[in-house]
């Protein structure tokens, strides 16, 4: 497959060797013929290394689909997804699983943890699955960063929703992944816990150089990112750099969502 050389609707070049992940002409459609629905309708986007990007858009805009395809949880109908320099297209189920395990981190909206494992065990889970040793120093750094030092032996049932999401965030970081995907990570949290979690994600980018891609519909959450990409009807329709809550809200109004 040829190297990506197209440009986005906004003219920004995405032929960028520093991109942690990117898509080219990503199309995802369901059904066929007249019933065909395009969740993604030609999305070309790149996510820079060491940056925190938010994906926004109204319900049904395709933002979650984009995230799932980037993460190898779902496959494209056509187009290409790249992680680092490597195309995910055509990879087998097992290869995708190993990629997720070794090179990606995940924070979902809810149900991020295994109820049978303690916080510490949940954090180490991807390493244990890979049979990789735990880097103690890094583990403690991450745990300190999420402020869970005193809760490591607790099971998820003994943790608050905010604490559970921070455990999930720590798990996402512990493998030093190339990229962390967060799907509405604050969606089920109160504003205070949500702010704590976002502050942590911000620190992960600033202090550890982590790359994060987050889907959200919350302008406040998006304001923590370095850049916001707006989706509507399966296409990228706008983009904001250095967003604030206000600029995000303005953009959303402009887009009529």
């Amino acid at each position: 497959m040829s190297a990506p050389s197209t440009t986005t609707a906004l003219g920004a070049s995405i032929e960028d060797p520093t991109a942690a992940a990117s898509t080219v002409d990503a199309v995802k459609s369901y059904g066929s013929g007249e019933a065909e629905v395009r969740a993604l309708n030609g999305v070309t986007v790149a996510f820079d290394r060491g940056r925190f990007t938010a994906i926004m858009g109204p319900s049904g805009s395709g933002k979650s689909t984009l995230l799932h395809c980037l993460a190898g949880l779902d496959t494209l109908t056509s187009g290409d997804v790249r992680l680092g320099g490597r195309s995910l297209t055509g990879l087998g189920e097992k290869q995708l699983t190993l990629l997720r395990r070794d090179r990606m981190g995940f924070v979902f909206q809810a149900f991020n943890l295994l109820p049978t494992l303690t916080a510490a065990e949940n954090i180490q889970l991807p390493l244990d699955l890979a049979g990789r040793p735990v880097d103690r120093e890094w583990f403690e750094t991450v745990v300190r960063a999420v402020g869970l030092q005193d809760r490591l032996d607790h099971t998820p049932a003994q943790l608050s929703g905010g604490q559970q999401q921070r455990v999930a965030a720590a798990r996402a970081l512990v493998t030093r992944p190339e990229i962390v995907f967060a799907d509405e990570p604050t969606g089920a949290l109160d504003s205070r816990s949500g702010a704590d979690l976002l502050a942590f994600l911000r620190r992960a980018v600033d202090e550890f150089g982590q790359t994060i891609v987050m889907v959200t519909h919350d302008p406040v959450a998006a304001s923590h990112a370095d850049r916001v990409v707006f989706l509507a009807d399966g296409r990228i329709v706008d983009e904001l750099a250095a967003p604030t809550t206000e600029t995000v809200l303005d953009a959303m109004k402009r887009l009529g969502s």
Partner: protein, 846 residues
């Protein structure tokens, strides 16, 4: 409500099928047992009716009871009675007949020995009206001392046609005859599997040891004479000790005897069926508990929109009812297969059941439906109660309620039962002969362990999970946590397997103790160099002529034969052995504790220490022993002995007393001691030349005898294990069911695991490890219980010949290993399903 129930059932077809199978296997067992029993009864009834056709009244010796060792033979009586009977007013015809032992040898000289059925010799009834269903199909009736008519089944199977020579083994040795005819019994080729050789009356009397006597006289009345009236008239003319019975009475008696024997047999099979049903009920209970827990939100929603508690309970019970009905119907169909299977299994050990169409009585159908529905509904009652406790508000709760902890009362009760049971088992192991205590302690322990199962499961799962987690890494660790998260579920699943394994292990311990004990008894108390017994399970014994011929072999010092009769003492049936007092002690050590074997003679008896102590008898006392043919005999105790294991009886008489009282004229065993200085190989060669003419005899030395006894025990063990295997299979289905339900319930977790990088192989491993943990948990508990049960039973049976307790450790370990492998098999389906979980669907549903 009906729609809700039906839709619920249809939405879970696979689960419904799995659940139904666990009950239907038990139902199939019940059905199979009834069908087989009914079929056998019907077959025998038909036979007896056919046999007595044409005969109105039978004259025979009076019996005190029906002796099974002689097939209910009555005492022969003087042939002079016949003219007296013929002279009775109203008698149209009367003919005497004799019956005895006659073993046909096939053309290769091998015995035609049917399994379980007798080998009969009889006199040929010349009056066709009195012959019943017995009719000549080919050739001619026997008329001379060389003539014999064979039953059609034997003739067909071994290619005999009129004119062929045939050798028949009689109690006085082999004799050569010529086949003059082939006879059938109505449509049947033989009588309930028995082989029959018929001779003319004089030859039969001579060949069967009945010279000048008859066993029975068949009487036909003149037309118009009522059978009861005829019986009374004949009876009035008979001397003392003889009786007259109508054919209706004979048929009723025989049917009752068959029903009796079958009753024992079917009760045993129903016991095994009950075990399967118990295990099935455990599975149903567990399944419904899980279903109710999983459907908490659905049930709460029903309650929230206005369903009453009663309606909710009804919905669960109704589901159970439908499952029960489906299982029962399935089981009924399977039961016919089971009946055929049981018949085949019995044939393997030599108990052949005559083939007729399988009898399906309305009672069988009713029992199957009742058992299926009642067991299923009962097992679902507790979960149904749990369902009514779901509060409507639970529909709104996001988090599932945590597993209910086990109540303190339950733990206390379980601990008490277990401790009492364990103490009882320990006591039964320490003191011999406490069989009752052992049985009660077994039940207490089982009840205790079942009550305590969840905490026990937690502890044991931790124990066996730890090494597995080291062995299997993260996947095994996750599996262990999963097994621990719902102790009730794990415990219920494992205990189903535990029950089956406990029973198999118990039987294994008892069987290996039996083998060790037999070897021990032979080594300790047999002084014989060679032992001869009837070959095969079904052989009733050896013609006494064999022992007589063995005495003539060069180098043989002593030949001592043993016989076996059943008799009654104080109304209870017991066995009486008979030995030759002159030689018995040379061949075997009875461990005489008072008196002496040599004092045995007419009118005397040896009594075992155990019985002597229980009844307070000592040497010189008189003991009343009732024989079937001769009634009560007063025998004087001339000695007591300790070694009951060798002979297997508590009474010993000399051979003459045995014969005089109508005991079987066959030796159950013949012991041979070589003369001093004789070369054993030479002696064996000499013995073999004699035995060659008696293919029914098996010649063994001590080692090979022990070995062949062990084989017999192994065969029995195999059958019992097979019958228990059904319960084990049901328990394994339970593991499949529980795992499938757990996988279903953990869809989101599995999705999460897959999302963060668990491979499909790892997902399968997690499910597989959990199955292995549950299976090993159940098997381990079962093996430990079985070990204790078996040890207690063996010690309890010490007085019945189980003198040695042997623990088959390797075999029990093998069971646990098999269970682990079975766990892997049980996990295949659920593991595949777990690996197929759609990651996106699972995480997106969050």
């Amino acid at each position: 409500m009906r729609k809700v129930i039906l839709k619920g059932l249809l939405a879970r077809k696979l689960r419904l099928a799995l659940t139904a199978v666990s009950i239907s296997l038990g139902v199939a067992f019940v059905t199979g047992t009834f069908v087989l029993g009914d079929t056998m009864t019907a077959t025998f009834d038909q036979l007896y009716e056919g046999l007595t056709e044409g005969t109105d009244v039978t004259v025979r010796g009076e019996s005190a009871f029906t002796d099974t060792t002689t097939l209910g033979a009555t005492k022969p009586f003087d042939a002079d009675v016949l003219p007296t009977v013929q002279d009775v007013d109203g008698v149209a015809a009367a003919a005497g007949s004799v019956t005895g032992y006659a073993l046909i040898l096939d053309k290769d000289g091998e015995p035609v020995q049917p399994g379980g059925a007798p080998t009969l010799g009889a006199s040929y009834t010349t009056d066709p009206a009195l012959a019943g269903g017995f009719t000549l199909r080919d050739g001619a009736a026997p008329t001379g001392p060389q003539d014999v008519v064979l039953d059609a089944a034997t003739a067909k199977a071994h290619g005999f046609v009129p004119g062929d020579p045939v050798t028949i083994l009689l109690t006085d040795g082999p004799r050569d005859f010529t086949v003059t005819g082939i006879a059938g019994f109505g449509d049947a080729d033989n009588l309930a599997g028995a082989t029959i050789a018929t001779f003319d009356l004089a030859t039969a009397q001579d060949a069967l040891g009945r010279t000048g006597v008859y066993d029975t006289i068949a009487v036909r009345g003149e037309s118009g004479v009522d059978a009861d009236e005829l019986r009374d008239r004949v009876a009035a003319a008979l001397p003392d000790g003889l009786e007259a019975v109508t054919s209706a009475e004979v048929v009723a008696e025989s049917s009752a005897a068959v029903a009796d024997a079958l009753g024992f047999f079917t009760t045993g099979l129903l016991g095994f069926a009950a075990i399967s049903l118990l295990v099935g009920a455990l599975i149903i209970w567990n399944t419904f508990s899980i279903l109710v827990a999983q459907r908490t939100r659905e049930l709460a929603l029903l309650r929230a929109v206005g369903a009453s508690r009663r309606q909710v309970r009804f919905s669960v019970v109704a589901e159970a009812f439908v499952i029960g009905l489906v299982s029962a119907a399935l089981g009924l169909g399977l039961g016919l297969g089971v009946a055929a299977g049981l018949r085949a299994a019995l044939a393997v050990v030599g108990i052949e059941v005559p083939t007729t169409t399988l009898q399906v009585e309305p009672r069988t159908i009713a029992a199957a439906l009742l058992v299926g529905v009642v067991v299923t509904v009962l097992a679902a009652l507790l979960p149904a109660r749990q369902a009514t406790r779901v509060a409507p508000v639970a529909a709104l709760r996001a988090v599932d309620a945590p597993a209910r902890p086990v109540g303190r009362t339950r733990i206390a009760a379980g601990a008490l039962l277990t401790v009492l049971g364990a103490a009882g088992l320990a006591a039964a192991m320490v003191e011999e002969g406490r069989l009752g205590l052992a049985a009660v302690a077994m039940l207490l322990t089982l009840a205790g362990v079942l009550t305590l199962a969840p905490p026990i499961a937690t502890v044991v799962t931790r124990l066996i999970g730890a090494p597995l987690a080291r062995l299997g890494g993260t996947t095994a660790q996750l599996a262990r946590r999963n097994a621990l998260r719902s102790p009730r579920r794990t415990a219920n699943t494992a205990t189903a397997l535990m029950i089956g394994l406990a029973l198999v292990s118990t039987v294994t311990v008892v069987a290996s103790s039996m083998k060790a004990s037999v070897a021990d008894v032979i080594a300790d108390s047999s002084r014989a160099d060679f032992i001869l017994k009837g070959a095969g399970q079904a052989s009733p014994g050896l013609p006494p002529q064999l022992a007589a011929e063995l005495r003539g072999v060069d180098g043989v010092g002593t030949v001592s034969e043993m016989r076996f009769a059943s008799a009654q003492v104080d109304g209870a049936t017991t066995f009486v052995s008979a030995v030759d007092p002159a030689t018995a002690e040379t061949a075997a050590d009875l461990e005489v504790t008072s008196g002496s074997v040599a004092d045995l003679g007419s009118g005397s008896v040896l009594v075992s220490d155990k019985v002597a102590q229980a009844k307070g008898w000592t040497v010189g006392d008189t003991v009343p022993i009732t024989y079937a043919q001769t009634g009560e005999q007063s025998l004087t105790v001339v000695g007591t002995y300790a070694n009951t294991a060798l002979l297997g009886s508590d009474y010993v008489t000399d051979l003459a007393v045995h014969d005089a009282n109508g005991g079987t004229a066959l030796d159950v065993a013949v012991l041979v001691v070589a003369a001093d200085g004789a070369d054993l190989d030479d002696v064996r060669a000499g013995l073999e030349t004699v035995v060659d003419a008696y293919p029914v005899a098996q010649l063994d030395d001590e080692a090979s005898f022990t070995e062949s006894q062990a084989q017999t025990i192994d065969q029995l063990l195999a059958i019992v294990t097979m019958l228990l295997a059904l319960a084990v299979i049901i328990a394994l289905l339970g593991i499949v069911n529980t795992l499938a339900l757990s996988v279903f319930e953990r869809t989101r977790e599995l999705g999460l695991l897959r999302a963060v990088g668990m491979t499909r192989r790892q997902v399968r491993a997690v499910v597989r490890w959990e199955a292995v943990i549950v299976a090993v948990l159940g098997a381990l508990l079962g093996a430990v219980l079985g070990l204790a049960f078996g040890a207690a039973l063996t010690r309890g049976l010490a007085g019945e010949g189980l003198s040695v307790l042997a623990i088959p450790g390797g075999r029990l370990a093998l069971y646990v290993l098999f269970a682990a492998l079975a766990g892997v098999l049980a996990a295949i389906g659920p593991a595949r399903r777990a690996a197929r979980v759609d990651v996106l669907h699972a995480v997106a549903a969050a």
